[in-house]
């Protein structure tokens, strides 16, 4: 009978790490070994950071962002424009916009997009909550920064319709579609080219 070369505790760490994005069983084994070899400088701080994150980080009840504060630091930042709301599908999209520093207003994270096949409904995405929040904040503009996919744009149109009905004075915008920086015409797909030419200026 073959015996496993690692203890159950280590095997457990490998199994958990292997579930993370970008890691498989082999790379999880390497990460585990690296952590165990660097207990003081890596394993201990990481374990503490994870425990602290588990304890303190939660989903913002206002916007859906992840933060240690409730409401999150973006929602309570007085320097941010309170009357411009940017709707995104996921926290990763919020982070991308913050990295780029292109939006100085508030956010609203839906947590997904409408999907008829997967049965994701407006209620699942908290769209009624978004409408209520937009009314409460008396927003002047809502930016629908949702994916340029069938499901993303279906969601954007749904929200736009709902906002137009509930708050007719709110300005609705969406990010432009077209050529990416460094993009060459020859390599762009026909739909991106069409969008770029339709929105030309």
């Amino acid at each position: 009978m073959s015996r496993t070369p690692v203890s159950p505790e280590i095997e457990r760490i490998i199994q958990l790490l292997a579930r993370l994005p970008g890691l498989g069983p082999r790379s999880a084994r390497r990460v585990t070994l690296h952590l165990l070899k660097n207990r003081q400088v890596l394993l201990d701080p990481l374990a503490r950071a994870l425990a602290q994150a588990m304890e303190t980080i939660s989903t913002c009840p206002e916007c859906g962002n992840l933060d240690t504060e409730r409401p999150c630091s973006l929602c309570t930042d007085p320097r941010r424009a309170q009357d411009v709301l940017c709707v995104v599908a996921d926290v990763a999209d919020l982070w991308a916009l913050e990295r780029a520093g292109v939006h100085s207003g508030l956010y609203h994270v839906l947590g997904g997009v409408l999907s008829p096949i997967d049965g994701t409904t407006p209620e699942d995405l908290g769209i009624p909550t978004l409408l209520e929040r937009a009314r409460r904040l008396a927003v002047k503009e809502v930016i629908l920064a949702l994916p340029a996919t069938v499901e993303g744009q279906t969601t954007a149109h749904y929200i736009a319709d709902a906002l137009r009905a509930a708050l007719p004075d709110v300005k609705l915008t969406r990010p432009a579609q077209g050529m990416p920086v460094g993009g060459e015409l020859d390599y762009l797909d026909e739909n991106t080219l069409r969008a770029a030419f339709q929105d030309r200026r």
Partner: protein, 248 residues
Amino acid sequence: MDWKETAIILGTWPHGERGVIVEVLAQNRGRWRGRVPGGASRKARPLLQPGNIVQADWRARLEDQLGMMRIELIDGIAGRHLADPFALDGLALLVADLHLLPEREPEPAMFRAARTVLDHLGEPTIWPALLARLELALLATLGFGLDLSRCAAGGSGPLVWVSPKSGRAVSEEAGRPYADKLLPLPAFLRPDGQGEGQGNRPVPAARDQADALRLTGFFLKRHVLTPRGLKEPHARDRIIRRLKERDT
């Protein structure tokens, strides 16, 4: 095992870090799934949008395996309609409908009907009627076809209603006392060819198209969605609402 044919993309689901499971309606093979390595990449994602017409190349060692699929774009229909909410709702409802077909059962007629709807998505006065006809055919394919050929109550004259109980047509004369309980049957759905939108006849009225989608939606919900524990696509209500707005 392998095959290669034209297909319509119905949906994708993440599979691992970079791959996706794609579901297509293949021209002669029906609803089929396969793994697309690299399907989550920036380059592949635009190809795998629901409604796109593609060349699907499926391979597996054994017939009943999930297998791998290679996708090449033939017509990027989805991207053309991203700015059109009405067409997008039509696309969403079409895809949700086709997803109800049994897996790996050849459905060339459904493929042709779906292709026709997709080809007309830019014509908002036409595609809802085409989609309603497709849904009527879908109900029949799934074993819940409506009998719209003659009056269930033995009445004569034009058939203008459908009984929600039996799914059979009811004539104007026989159905009049129960009008509030019956579902309207738009003329263009009648199998006798008297309706509009057939051959050289005019395009059906927006109200009739809304009634048609309400009719097919009612029976799809009762016979297919509810028994399978599926939610009704929101797109149907929005399409019907827009058709009504157009009618007024």
